[in-house]
Amino acid sequence: MSIIYFLIGCSVTLALIFLGAFFWAQRSGQNDDLYTPSMRILLDDEQFEEEEK
């Protein structure tokens, strides 16, 4: 049953990585605009190639 110590260690580390990822996303402004991308995806992308930077 001691394997539980290891498993919990793994799960907490994984969760910490996700938390860190969320903080990074928040800081880099990825969550600033949550609405526009949902519209952007519906537009045809024929003319979109050079749009991305």
């Binding site: 049953m1 799960s11 938390l19 928040q26 969550n31 605009d33 519209m39 537009l43 003319q47």
Partner: protein, 796 residues
């Protein structure tokens, strides 16, 4: 000239307005005006016509675009507007009110198709902002703005801008705090589950391990996520106020201390799960409460009403000057539709100034040379030259704005239900807690302490703290759907307490389009031409409206012309005697009906009928005035009283209508009402109401376009929803009722928990069940009942 223009049902390909004439046709597509057509031409030249395939008529009408952006060449102004610049690129963010559909989004992100100098553009749809990075060597800021204007997306440029304020990050990092709390909550729940089901004796070491881990997870929740509660509670204590943050902070602290001691000393599981859950839900409630409208600004001042720059004439040369640099003695030139930014003397040109926004007067005022024109008026007609006599900061309008009452900070008189109740709640809570401590102390100190802490834990007003934010957030979103935008959640409760409503007239209960002309004269085309030729000579507002109504026609020379002040015009034209004016002039008797302004026409002593100029009232004014039964209703107008009879139909009591009110008089009227302990809602639209809006308990600004400038207020109402006002008021009362009921629900949960707590035998499991259960009940109840009521009031 043919008068029977065929009213065809063709609509403009660009904006969807009706096409009045057949002048603007290109590629078999009809356009209503030159502006719309030229936008199409720009787009088709750049193969961007898919713009029209995403939505029908995606554009906004371009009928009146007469814009000059010379001031955007001034380095001082440029540096104020841009976000960032270096040798190669400049970044700028524009606020573009026109953004409204996916076509807008598509087109604006294709700007580099039209001009290669644009490197990057991104639209933020909800904020209606466009972020552009461009090469300023190839494209100046002015050219960029002109490019945007040419494709129909004119940015709203104002130095006191909402963009910059919004884009500065707020300090409290609420989302991060929620993330931490949620992370810890999840892990603690996972580790606490084994305990809920019971651990066998040989698994006890796991239990201890889980307990220590739980304590570790709780530390960031207490120290980081719930920090605001401790700070707020402490500050309020120092100000000798007991608000709801105090029992919350107390509950969190007690939970933490007791959990730590239980785990470390007794090797019991502790209350870490309850603690993390509590903080997590509380923070979510806080987030819900902080709804903001990105595209609406409630805190605008006169600077955003005025233009960014004005043209001055210096040695016959016109140069744009930033408004803050405008000085006494400058000669300024004001064109059609521009706003006069400072008090000035008229030097040249014919001034017809529309002061409706400043004074509430509906008709444009004519000014003669040498007269002082106050700031805030909008020139209509030809360009005029003026000499500034006072700097912008000292003009009449600005002073009005800076009046003490106008700048008064947020009122603190009104307490929300939550604030009122939490005072008593805290006191009762402390009494019960200490009561149970003293009850057990003589017999069993340990049990006494257990009971004491258990009471504070169980009665922690989590559900109470959540009921207001969730109800109000739901209410706010329902108002929002009905185009009624409230500044914050407090306003809902203030609205429920209202007993008096004061309305402005011009622009508030009348529509922005102004007057409608009712044609009660059976005139032939020839006679119309005669009337037009006479009226065109006069600058009286009514004559102007007649001319506008009769349309541009050929003008015949007038042989004899006499204008009788206050009555009308007598003229001889093409051997016909024409009299145009009021009843006294035309029929020789005093008018008895004063329902509307009438202009009668007499040609060759034959009475031909009259034109009636009536203000158009907003749809549903009759509905709104049924509020008379429950509320005191007043009308304040800056205009003269010629509509009194007509308005009496709505307001019943002539005493409830006050005309010729100056902005200061309106403010005083409101404060008089408040002296009599009445809760006043002021509904207005213009700068002349801004004092009254600030003074009242709730100021509601009515506007036909929420992107337009509105004076500072607590709420902004779209003119189309004006008729829903009674429903809004009723709904706000219902929302407050929902809060009361949810308070009772949370109280009954508390009582149930307390019955365990006072005995000192509160098990962590009961706390862990009770807390989320009460929270879930409250959230579900408030959200569902608010929506149910909204349906009942036909707001959904």
């Amino acid at each position: 000239m043919t008068e029977n223009t065929v009213i065809s049902k063709t609509t403009c390909y660009h904006c969807g307005d009706d096409c009045v004439n057949e002048q603007y046709i290109i590629d078999e597509k009809h356009f209503c005006c030159h502006g719309c057509k030229s936008v199409y031409e720009v787009l088709s030249a750049n193969q961007l016509c898919s713009y029209y395939s995403y939505n029908d008529h995606p554009g906004a009408t371009q009928a009146s675009t007469d814009k000059r952006f010379d001031y955007l060449n001034e380095p001082g102004i440029i540096s104020e507007l841009i976000d960032y610049t270096d040798e190669h690129v400049t970044t700028v963010t524009f606020y573009i009110p026109n953004i409204h559909c996916s076509s807008c989004l598509w087109l604006l992100e294709q700007l580099n198709k039209i001009n290669q100098a644009v490197h990057y553009c991104r639209v933020d749809f909800l904020k209606k902002q466009l972020n552009i990075r461009f090469d300023h060597h190839k494209l100046s800021l002015k050219q960029l703005v002109e490019l945007l204007t040419n494709i129909g997306y004119e940015p709203l440029i104002s130095l006191q801008d909402i963009i910059k304020k919004q884009n500065t990050p707020t300090g409290d990092k609420l989302v991060q705090k929620i993330a931490v709390a949620g992370f810890c909550f999840g892990n603690v729940m996972l580790l606490s589950f084994p305990d809920y089901f019971g651990l066998s004796s040989y698994e006890q070491t796991f239990g201890h391990f889980f307990g220590y881990l739980n304590i570790l997870f709780t530390i960031p929740v207490v120290l980081y996520s719930s920090r605001d509660y401790f700070v707020s509670a402490w500050q309020n204590l120092r100000n000798k106020v007991l608000n709801i943050d105090f029992p919350l902070a107390l509950g969190i602290a007690v939970l933490f201390i007791r959990s730590v001691t239980e785990v470390l000393v007794n090797h019991d599981p502790g209350f870490s799960d309850t603690l993390c859950g509590l903080v997590f839900f509380l923070l979510i409630g806080k987030l819900v409460q902080k709804k903001t409208y990105y595209h609406i600004s409630f805190e605008r001042d006169y600077r955003s009403f005025f233009p960014v720059a004005v043209h001055i004439i210096d040695n016959e040369v016109e140069t744009p000057v930033s408004l803050s640099k405008l000085e006494t003695g400058h000669r300024i030139i004001i064109r059609h539709n521009e706003i006069i930014p400072a008090d000035a003397i008229l030097l040249k040109g014919e001034a017809m100034v529309d002061f409706s926004f400043v004074t509430g007067e509906a008709l444009p005022v004519q000014k003669t040379l040498g007269e002082i024109i106050y700031a805030g008026g909008r020139q209509t007609g030809e360009a005029i030259e003026m000499e500034v006599i006072k700097p912008v900061s000292q003009s009449y309008l600005t002073q009005l704005w800076n009046n003490e009452a106008f700048t008064r900070q947020q009122r603190d008189t009104s307490q929300t239900f939550n604030e009122k109740i939490s005072k008593y709640f805290t006191v009762v809570l402390l009494i019960i807690a200490f009561g149970s401590l003293f009850f057990w102390m003589p017999t069993d100190l340990k049990r006494g302490l257990a009971a004491f802490t258990a009471v504070l834990i169980v009665a922690c007003p989590c559900a109470l703290a959540l009921s207001t934010p969730f109800t109000m957030a739901a209410a706010l979103s329902i108002f929002d759907k009905n185009q009624f935008y409230l500044k914050n959640t407090r306003v809902v409760e203030q609205m429920a307490a209202i007993d008096t409503i004061v309305m402005d007239k011009t622009g508030t209960i009348t529509t922005g389009e102004g007057n409608t002309v009712k044609d009660n004269a059976a005139l032939t085309e020839y006679e119309k031409q005669l009337v037009y030729s006479v009226c065109v000579n006069s600058i009286h507002p009514l004559s102007r409206m007649m001319c506008r109504y009769l349309g541009p026609r050929e003008k015949q020379s007038v042989e004899k012309y006499e204008e009788v002040a206050g009555q009308g015009i007598l003229a001889t034209i093409d051997n016909h005697k024409v009299a145009i004016g009021n009843e006294l002039l035309v029929l020789g008797k005093r008018s008895d009906s004063r329902n509307a302004t009438k202009v009668l026409i007499l040609i060759d002593d034959v009475y031909c009928g009259y034109f009636e100029f009536a203000h158009q009232y907003r749809n549903g004014l009759d509905k709104v005035t049924t509020l008379l039964k429950k509320y005191k209703l007043f009308l304040l107008s800056g205009d003269r009283d010629y509509e009194q009879q007509e308005l009496l139909r709505f307001f019943k009591d002539p005493g409830a209508m006050q005309f010729d009110q100056s902005p200061q008089a309106k403010l005083d009227f409101i404060s008089d009402l408040q002296q009599n302990r009445q809760k006043v809602m002021m509904i207005g639209d213009g700068l002349n109401d801004s004092g009254a809006l600030k003074q009242s308990d709730i100021g509601v600004a009515v506007t036909d376009n929420v992107n337009n400038f509105t004076p500072g207020s607590d709420a902004i109402l779209d003119g189309r929803s004006f008729n829903k006002l009674p429903a809004f008021l009723q709904f706000s009362k219902d929302a407050v009722k929902v809060i009361h009921i949810s308070f009772l629900i949370s109280l009954s949960y508390n009582l149930f928990g307390l019955s365990y707590a006072v005995t000192g035998k509160l098990s962590p499991l009961i706390a862990a069940i009770l807390m989320p259960l009460s929270t879930a009940t409250i959230i579900a109840f408030t959200t569902f009942s608010t929506h149910f009521i909204a349906k009942k009031r036909k707001l959904l």
